[in-house]
């Protein structure tokens, strides 16, 4: 994830989270405010309802009292026994007193006349016969059975000469409509026995049966308060539901959500713009600086970063430029030092190489000068021997010079598709006789060649020379015999060749200097073999490394890019 993406994510997520938190707190605060308001309004409505029920009850009691004291009832009381003539009286009396329900009941509790259910005459109202002081009993809620079903009613009872007058008014939807409701509140009434209550209210009705006290519950967006309506025996007769509409709260919440969405979107857009600006101001110089670092790493030591500001990034670029300049100076100094060291090494080697043949030459010439005084025949012998020696040493000198010349004149590789396995097999075959030469300790070859090794683009002769040098070094390292293992394998598109011996091994310092020209650990080596190997591998775009520990052998590893087809 690059710097710009990080900046983008940071800014947008920060804005989004901040907006969400603000919106959540605002929504919670508003919800709390609405709930408080709802509680107040519902409480006021419940008080209003109770007051209204009390007033209605007083009114009903007054009207029933008026009927009980009427001439009509006195007439009925005056004709005990056969009340059939008064069958329709209750309807007229109820109409006169604006009562929904009215029953005139005989002393034996049988209905003389019923306004609400005329056909029920003669049936018993046993509840009236129970002992009670009806004169002082205020109106109460009662579930009244009618032909079309049961209704809730506010009922009052009065008596006259053992006759009962039970009258009342319905407590139903029409009654609820007479109440002045605050906006957003609605009332509905269900009897406890009503099976038609909406499913959402059923559980509240059941809870009321258990508790018989006000219960508030959330149904959808609305808040519903269930108020129990109990009868004379404190039995639950109905439940009044006060529903506070959540529409307003929902609208406000929706507005907050929309606003938060808009603000959040704007924040994200601003975040994107800020990230673009930040990348322009911050990440571009950093990216350029990173590019410069990469170029330096690739060897372009003259790369310089652009110093476009005076802030930390600008100072970093300047420091980077200063550092690269320092590095270039150091490298040049190092190269110069190494070059001097190489020349010194070369001079030392040359002196060493040349000193060996020069000493015999000097002795031979001095011997030849002294032989002038010898008889001609002896001189002739000395002369022959001396010139032979001179020629031999001169050839040695010539060979030394030739090797140095060869190293100096390493030819450019002629690349072609090469099967590395074939070169390995060819070299092993070439040195097979030397590995198994009689009279010297045995060296056992062990080839582990990958069966489908891709080809490499390489000069086969130079590659054979590289492998030959490594095999010869291995043979030299195993004076007491051992095993030389050569393996090839394909690792992620690169062909890897490893030559492992079980010889004496190398120290860490020897490993570090092993590829330096003219450095050798052998008594008679020129120190050019591995330098040539490294040069060839480098010319082929590959890499060579060595792993070794004293006494545990050495492994030379060469990696080359594969380009050719697989070996079938």
């Amino acid at each position: 994830m690059n710097f710009r993406t990080k900046v983008l994510l940071s800014i947008t997520s920060t804005v989004a989270i901040a907006v969400w938190i603000v919106a959540w707190f605002a929504s919670a605060a508003i919800s709390q405010s609405f709930e408080g308001r709802d509680r107040q309004r519902v409480g006021a409505l419940v008080n209003l309802l109770r007051t209204e029920l009390a007033h209605r009850g007083e009114d009903v009691a007054r009207r029933v009292e008026a009927i009980a004291n009427s001439q009509a009832l006195a007439r009925i009381a005056a004709e005990p026994g056969d009340y059939s003539a008064f069958l329709d009286d209750a309807q007229a009396l109820a109409q006169d007193q604006s009562l929904d329900l009215l029953e005139i009941v005989a002393p034996d509790a049988s209905i003389i006349s019923s306004a609400q259910w005329p056909a029920r005459f003669g049936y018993k109202e046993t509840w009236l016969a129970a002992p009670a002081d009806w004169k002082t009993q205020s109106a109460f809620l009662k579930q009244e059975e009618l032909a079309e079903g049961s209704v809730l009613a506010l009922v009052a009872v009065r008596t006259l000469s053992n006759l009962y007058v039970a009258g009342g008014q319905r407590i139903d939807a029409a009654f609820l409509k007479t109440l002045a409701l605050p906006e957003g509140l609605s009332l509905s009434l269900y009897q406890a026995s009503d099976q038609s209550a909406p499913r959402e209210f059923v559980s509240l009705v059941q809870q009321e049966r258990m508790r018989s006290r006000e219960i508030t519950s959330q149904i959808g967006d609305d808040t519903v308060t269930a108020i129990p309506l109990s009868g004379r025996d404190a039995n639950l007769l109905g439940v009044l539901f006060v529903r506070s509409s959540g529409l307003e709260l929902t609208a406000v919440r929706s507005y907050i959500r929309r606003t938060a969405l808009v603000v959040g979107t704007a924040g994200v857009v601003i975040g994107i713009l800020l990230s673009l600006w930040a990348s322009a101001r911050v990440s571009r110089p950093v990216r350029e600086l990173a590019g410069s670092v990469r170029q330096v790493a690739e060897g372009k030591w003259d790369t310089r970063a652009t110093v476009s500001s005076s802030d930390e990034i600008g100072r970093l670029a300047a420091d980077f430029n200063h550092m690269t300049e320092q590095l270039v100076d150091s490298r040049e100094r190092l190269v110069q030092t190494e070059r001097v060291a190489a020349w010194r090494e070369l001079a030392r080697r040359l002196a060493h190489e040349l000193k060996n043949p020069l000493f015999p030459l000097q002795i031979t010439v001095e011997n030849l000068q002294r032989s002038k005084a010898l008889p001609p025949k002896e001189f002739e012998e000395v002369f022959e021997e001396s010139t032979g020696t001179l020629l031999a040493e001169l050839n040695t000198l010539k060979a030394i010079v030739g090797r140095f010349s060869d190293f100096a004149r390493m030819p450019a590789p002629h690349k072609e598709d090469v099967d590395l396995n074939q070169i390995v097999e060819r070299v092993i075959k070439l040195y097979d006789a030397q590995l198994c030469a009689p009279g010297r300790p045995q060296i056992r070859p062990d080839l582990q060649l990958a069966p489908h090794l891709p080809h490499v683009s390489a000069d086969p002769e130079q590659l054979q020379r590289v492998l030959s040098n490594l095999v010869l070094n291995a043979i030299d390292a195993m004076a007491n015999g051992g095993k030389i293992s050569i393996s090839t394998r394909d690792i992620s598109g690169r062909v890897v060749l490893e030559v492992t011996d079980t010889g004496e091994g190398l120290t860490k310092e020897e490993c570090e200097r092993l590829f330096t020209p003219y450095y050798t650990t052998k008594q008679y080596g020129t120190g050019l073999g591995l330098a040539i190997v490294q040069s060839v591998v480098s010319d082929h775009g590959g890499a060579i490394s060595v792993q070794s520990e004293p006494g545990r052998g050495s492994t030379f590893r060469i990696e080359l890019s594969s380009t050719g087809p697989e070996r079938i």
Binding site: S84, A85, L87, P118, A119, R120, F121, G122, Y123
Partner: protein
């Protein structure tokens, strides 16, 4: 003053007093009688009360159920009651002036009696059948055997004491006196039968039978007819027998008769009233609760034109709940229905035939004896498809100046007159 003068004065006073008393009881011709009826007046047929004033039958049944002459003055049977001869009253005309002839009667009664051939022979109308028709005179006394024609506008043309002047269906029937009636001109000039006449102007007011005495104006004379209207429930066959029996037993008929209908009805155990058959008390009518498993509600249809029907239906529904039967009274048509059947005949056998016909019950049995009549009625009620409820009387209020009213034959208006 001389004694002769005192005697003359006293004699004059006595004569004047006798004249005044005589004037008060002597029938008076003229006047228009307004009748307020509860009938819907949706149709006018010979078996309607008003129709019976227009169309007459060959014979009639008196209050004791005996056959009496009417348009026929003599009849006799021959060949073991396979042939009947009815001799027509002479000089009788239809209201349109055409004479009542044997040929006209034979034509109008053709098909009136099943499996019987009717033909004219001089002044006689002959009825011939392969089987004995011992009850033919009673059958011919039925209102449906009345002799009448219909005019181009379907108005009844009969021979009765009143003829139709105007018919406004659903509102009013206006009759005027038949000046040429064979029994003599009726006292009244006209009879107007209405559904909506103002009570104070009506001479005779038919009141709902459930009207309490307190609700009847004091000046009206009350006339309560014999209970001759049957209220019964007709149930479809798909209602189980147990439910039908339970419903029949649950009904408190006494409460309906005595309280709801203010004692102007009697509980019905059978299909014809006690006063007519003499054995209605043998049928069970007391209330019993036979609970049945709760069933789907049963709609009980009743006539919306009859307020009494609704009251009875509501009470039946209340009673039925006690047995676990949910009845829903409805003014709409329903498979189960509360029916009201007017029993016009004073003959028990004929009344049962009429009731069975109204209820679409098959009654192909011999009814010639009281035992057979009882057995037939019992058989009709056996499956519980018909549940008799009450027999209801007609309640009529008569203004004080209405005279000649016969409570046993309330619609015989030819003898009614209005005192001045």
């Amino acid at each position: 003053m001389r004694p002769i003068a005192w005697r003359s004065l006293a004699l004059s006073s006595v004569l004047a007093g006798i004249a005044l008393v005589h004037a008060a009881v002597r029938p008076h011709y003229g006047g228009v009688l307004h009748m307020l009826t509860l009938e819907p007046l949706a149709t006018l047929n010979a078996d309607d009360p008003a129709g019976a004033l227009i169309a007459e039958t060959l014979v009639m049944l008196d209050e004791h159920g005996e056959v009496r002459p009417k348009l026929a003055v003599f009849w006799q049977s021959e060949g073991g009651a396979r042939r009947w001869r009815f001799t027509l009253r002479p000089h009788v005309n239809f209201h349109d002036g055409t004479p009542l002839t044997a040929a006209a009667v034979a034509s109008l009664l053709s098909g009136a009696v099943k499996n019987t051939t009717v033909y004219a022979a001089g002044p006689n109308v002959l009825f011939a059948s392969q089987m004995p028709i011992v009850n033919l005179p009673r059958e011919l006394a039925r209102p449906r055997s009345a002799i009448f024609r219909r005019s181009g506008d379907s108005a009844l043309i009969g021979t009765g004491p009143f003829r139709l002047k105007q018919l406004e269906l659903g509102m009013r029937v206006t009759l005027i006196a038949n000046e040429e009636h064979w029994g003599g001109r009726p006292y009244l000039d006209s009879v107007i039968i209405e559904r909506s006449a103002h009570a104070s102007t009506a001479g005779i007011i038919e009141l709902p039978p459930n009207t309490s005495t307190r609700q009847i104006p004091e000046k009206l004379r009350i006339s309560v007819t014999l209970p001759a209207e049957l209220y019964a429930i007709s149930l479809p066959a798909n209602i189980p027998q147990s439910t039908r029996d339970s419903l029949a037993a649950s009904i408190d008929r006494s409460a309906i008769a005595n309280v709801l209908l203010q004692k102007r009805a009697e509980p019905a155990g059978g299909l014809i009233p006690q006063w007519l058959s003499g054995f209605d008390f043998l049928f069970p009518r007391s209330r019993r609760i036979l609970p049945v498993p709760r069933t789907q509600p049963i709609a009980l249809g009743y006539s919306n034109d009859d307020p009494v029907s609704r009251l009875i239906a509501d009470r039946i529904a209340v009673n039925a709940r006690d047995a676990g039967i949910m009845l829903q009274p409805s003014p709409l048509s329903a498979a189960a229905r509360l029916v009201r059947i007017r029993i016009n005949s004073t003959d028990a056998e004929q009344a049962l035939v009429d009731v069975a016909a109204n209820l679409n019950l098959d009654l192909n049995t011999d009814l010639s004896s009281l035992e057979k009549l009882y057995a037939a009625e019992r058989a009709l009620l056996a499956d519980g498809r018909v549940i008799p409820i009450v027999f209801v009387s007609q309640l009529l209020g008569l203004q004080p100046n209405i005279r000649g009213w016969d409570q046993s034959r309330p619609w015989q208006l030819e003898n009614v007159w209005i005192a001045p």
